[in-house]
């Protein structure tokens, strides 16, 4: 995973990069030093979500950016799931978006069962 998300995570104020499958499995989790979220926390939260409803809503959405009072969350639809990036409000969103554009072909070429294992080294 670091091979794919390394550039993205090196952008100032980016905290965590996640990749979920379309049905909510956390396929990639790469926190930076600033992240306070553990893999277990995210998986627990993910299991509480209705992913079918999310899939349905994201049928008509390419990307979404959620602006909170302290942080921002960027979400992008990929062929086999969703990229979710947690970052500070000051993060350069256009550079984040550009980086995702660049890695998108690589992410889209991966398939859940076969591909991710080859590319992503999950943290335990």
């Amino acid at each position: 995973m670091k091979d794919i998300f390394a550039d993205l995570n090196s952008i100032e104020n980016v905290h965590t990069s996640l990749f979920f499958s379309a049905d909510g499995d956390l396929l990639a989790y790469e926190p930076t030093d600033k992240s306070r979220l553990t893999r277990e926390m995210i998986e627990e939260y993910s299991s509480s979500l209705e992913w079918k409803a999310i899939q349905k809503r994201f049928k008509e959405i390419n990307e979404a950016e959620l602006i909170f009072s302290k942080y921002r969350v960027y979400m992008r639809k990929a062929e086999h799931g969703f990229i979710v990036i947690l970052m500070s409000l000051m993060a350069p969103i256009e550079i984040v978006r550009l980086n995702i554009d660049l890695i998108m072909p690589e992410i889209n070429s991966l398939k859940k069962a076969k591909g991710f294992g080859r590319f992503f080294k999950f943290r335990s």
Partner: protein, 342 residues
């Protein structure tokens, strides 16, 4: 760039049209949908300049779509294409406001020519830059002209439309804002360019006031707004003197009201906002996003930016009614976020 909405469930035809636009005129952007209901959603959410529609489609057919557009967006010309053309239906369609009619198989060169003709027709009565809208519309009234006036602000992308028949004001529209309220708003604009079309597709008067009454009320509302702004400025100055920090009246307004006022007052600073409207269909999305914020401990949700697969973009402001700002790609979103954060 003109957005051409093409409504047809015939995928082969859509592909042919898409290809034609790829190699054809570069100032037209085709948007494709497969039925009338999707077309209505597009028109509500995006600035559409011309509609090309099939007659027989699922959910809402071409007749229904034509009726809807003529009732609510009568400045948008509609070209009908059909595989089941009959002279009688052609007559009915033109009587009901269609601007063009083609039978399948469609000659795409002719279709493009028709689009260009309709586009040029929008200013066949001339273009007036930096014009006085009040003065021009009073002339229209005096000379009992029939016309459609597209009013474009020179300091931002906002555009409104006024409809006149025999010198009487019939209707007004800015995005999804319609009728008198839209007319008042348009008449409060300064520095405008007028695109005059020597035709008015609307047959029924929808504003039950004469032009003078509309102009007077628009001026009164504008004065009221200016007074509010002046008193707000004074209050700000007083607050600042009393407290040493700027606790303004504007800060007590809801983010949406503040944003609307800010946009009205600072139109040169915030550009690319195409429309502002309420849309409760985003409630579930907003609720889930807020829940995500609670889990991540990211604070309160202030705004959501959404880019849709149909290439429309919007900023949704979470409030009671979910105010949606339909935005163009060149909109400075960060500036809007900053206003919302304040």
């Amino acid at each position: 760039m003109k957005n051409i909405l093409i409504v047809d469930d015939d995928i082969a035809l859509l592909k042919m049209i898409a290809k034609k636009f790829e190699t054809g005129p570069d100032n037209f952007n085709p948007v494709f949908v497969k039925d009338g209901v999707s077309a209505v959603n597009q028109i509500k959410n995006k600035k559409i300049d011309i509609v090309i529609s099939d007659l027989q489609m699922p959910k809402m057919d071409g007749y229904g779509l034509l009726e809807y557009i003529n009732g609510n967006y009568p400045d948008i010309p509609v070209i009908i294409i059909t595989a089941f053309g009959k002279p009688k239906s052609k007559t009915i369609l033109f009587e009901n406001g269609a601007s063009g009619y083609f039978e399948k198989p469609v000659n795409l060169d002719q279709l493009i020519s028709e689009i260009k003709r309709l586009y040029e027709k929008e200013s066949d009565g001339g273009i007036l830059k930096s014009a006085s809208l009040e003065m021009f519309t009073q002339l229209v009234e005096m000379e009992q002209k029939t016309c459609t006036i597209r009013v474009k602000r020179e300091d931002n992308d906002q555009e409104g439309v006024l409809f006149f028949r025999d010198g009487e004001i019939y209707y007004a529209r800015i995005g999804n804002l319609k009728g008198l309220e839209a007319a008042y708003r348009i008449f409060s604009w300064h520095n405008v360019t007028l695109f005059i079309e020597n035709d008015c597709r609307l047959k029924k008067k929808k504003i039950n006031s004469d032009l003078q009454a509309v102009l007077l009320e628009a001026m009164r509302l504008k004065d009221e707004k200016d007074e509010f702004q002046e008193s707000k400025d004074s209050a700000d100055a007083l607050d600042f003197e009393k407290t040493g920090h700027k606790e303004t009246q504007a800060e007590k307004l809801s983010p949406v009201d503040y944003l609307k006022k800010f946009i009205e007052n600072n139109s040169s600073e915030v550009t690319g906002i195409l429309d502002i409207y309420e849309d409760l269909t985003w409630s579930e999305f907003i609720r889930k996003s807020s829940e995500l914020g609670n889990f991540l401990n990211t604070g309160n949700l202030k705004a959501c930016y959404v880019s849709k697969t149909d290439s429309t973009s919007m900023i949704i402001v979470p409030d009671k009614t979910n105010t949606v700002l339909s935005v163009s790609p060149k909109c400075d979103r960060e500036k809007i976020y900053r206003i919302l954060m304040d």
